[in-house]
């Protein structure tokens, strides 16, 4: 039923560049929102029975967040490219995307001295397509059913 959905079918028939842009914008949005939520909660985590709060925060940052991003990415790939299965594990794929996102933001923030809010706008406007390419390349599946 899900695969026969008209909207999903419409996305599947888009041109490659459009699919990459959509993939990039969804993953970038997800990363920005998680980053904002974590930044907002950072002080609370840090103040919670130290260093237990720090451990919780790092677990979410580098354990749960990559899993969410990795799962999201493979769902997008399955939805847009008619593929099944995956080549790279969820966590590894997610941490790769997270590290790429963090590195790009760090470079922009360091060189241009911008705040995260400004960088987030740049990410969405300018880097969605390249990020979509990276997200698509960093994982994949197979077009035939998996045994």
């Amino acid at each position: 039923m899900f695969s026969n959905n008209k909207i999903i079918n419409h996305f599947k028939n888009l041109r490659l560049i459009e699919k990459l842009f959509i993939q990039g914008i969804i993953v970038t949005f997800a990363l920005i929102i998680i980053q904002l939520l974590l930044d907002g909660a950072k002080s609370s985590f840090m103040s919670y029975m130290p260093p237990i709060g720090l451990v919780f925060m790092e677990t979410i940052n580098y354990g749960i967040q990559p899993l969410i991003i990795g799962v999201l990415n493979i769902i997008i790939i399955h939805t847009l490219y008619k593929l099944k299965g995956w080549q790279v594990g969820f966590w590894l794929n997610g941490i790769f995307l997270l590290l790429t996102f963090t590195t790009i933001n760090l470079l922009i923030q360091t060189v241009w001295g911008l705040q995260f809010a400004d960088v987030a706008v740049i990410d969405i406007i300018l880097l969605s397509l390249p990020f979509g390419c990276i997200a698509r390349f960093s994982n994949g599946g197979w077009s035939k059913p998996i045994d």
Binding site: K42, S43, M46, P51, Q87, T102, T103, L106, T110
Partner: protein, 309 residues
């Protein structure tokens, strides 16, 4: 030619589309990205060529107690002539004997700093008593611009070596000392300095910063110098306060290595846009931190002349 290129690209795409190859590529890229995150800020700021002079404040910790009374005024003059605009000192006095040598040294010291307009940062160590602090501030408080409440509390011993302060002990001690200083209504700025270990007890800078004007970070060793931009940005993020490097030094008998290390750090922190960096120490009788009479003294004087307004 274009067919050859197309074949190469397709062959590469087929090769990388294998699960094993893709996993290896992703793992390798993750390692490279991780290294970039760790090392890029230091390399960028340290090598950035900004020739503009700035208001960056270079300060130094002067252990005036190790000098004779008649040396102190000239030493402050020398420090000023090198371009240092802040001197950090420990709280040391004798509240029992008014004209004790220790107190006379302070009178001389402050007469010199007042003459040159040097900002004085007073360090209230973790074990100081409120009586002594009250005496000190009543007598010399008007000469002081910065007051440091506690020193690296996150790693300090409370009553014996290895007995690290609990959070409750630190916070109550901080509150008592802060209230003691605040009761004197001095026009001073408050700060507390932290070592790299603050990362494990981040609740302390977060809690303290509510009462502080800025926070200090102490940096020693090459490894922590390289990592310091990350620690500084994190400290600024969790406290929302400016970060000043309040202790920065190297204890080595190799004067050139010390000089290079200090210049590297000063360049880094100036390029990062920090308000200041205070070195440890001007003089140091029992170790090799002191820069007086060593290559670092001239090198830093030259650096200040070239980089600071």
């Amino acid at each position: 030619m274009s067919k050859l290129a197309s074949n190469v690209i397709h062959a590469f795409a087929r090769f990388t589309n294998k699960s094993l190859v893709k996993n290896l590529i992703i793992i390798t890229l993750c390692i490279i990205l991780l290294l970039a995150i760790v090392f890029f800020p230091f390399n960028y700021y340290e090598s950035a060529s900004t020739n503009k002079k700035s208001t960056f404040q270079v300060g130094i910790h002067y252990v005036y107690g190790q000098d004779d009374l008649n040396q102190i005024y000239n030493q402050v003059t020398e420090i000023y002539n090198l371009g240092f605009r802040a001197i950090r000192i420990n709280l040391e006095c004798n509240p029992l004997i008014y004209n004790d040598t220790q107190n006379q040294k302070l009178d001389t010291f402050f007469s010199a700093t007042d003459r040159y307009g040097i900002a004085v940062a007073l360090v209230i160590q973790n074990g100081e008593t409120t009586d002594k602090v009250n005496y000190y501030l009543e007598r010399w408080g008007s000469h002081i611009k910065y007051v440091q409440i506690m020193n690296e509390p996150e790693a300090a011993a409370s009553w014996d070596v290895g007995a690290i302060f609990t959070d409750d002990e630190i916070v109550s001690k901080f509150d008592i000392m802060y209230e003691t200083v605040a009761s004197h209504n001095l026009p001073v700025q408050y700060y507390t300095n932290f070592g790299i270990g603050y990362v494990l007890r981040s609740n302390l800078p977060i809690d303290f910063s509510k009462k502080l004007d800025f926070v200090g970070l102490d940096v020693f060793m090459d490894s922590f110098l390289v990592l310091s931009p990350n620690f500084i940005q994190n400290l600024h993020k969790i406290t929302n306060k400016d970060v000043v490097i309040t202790e920065f030094g190297m204890s080595t008998s190799d004067g050139i290595a010390q000089s290079n290390y200090l210049i590297k750090g000063l360049t880094l922190y100036k390029n990062m846009g920090l308000k200041g960096c205070w070195l440890v120490y001007w003089n140091s009788a029992f170790d090799n931190y002191g820069i007086r009479g060593r290559p670092a003294e001239k090198a830093i004087g030259d650096w200040i002349a070239q980089n600071v307004q």
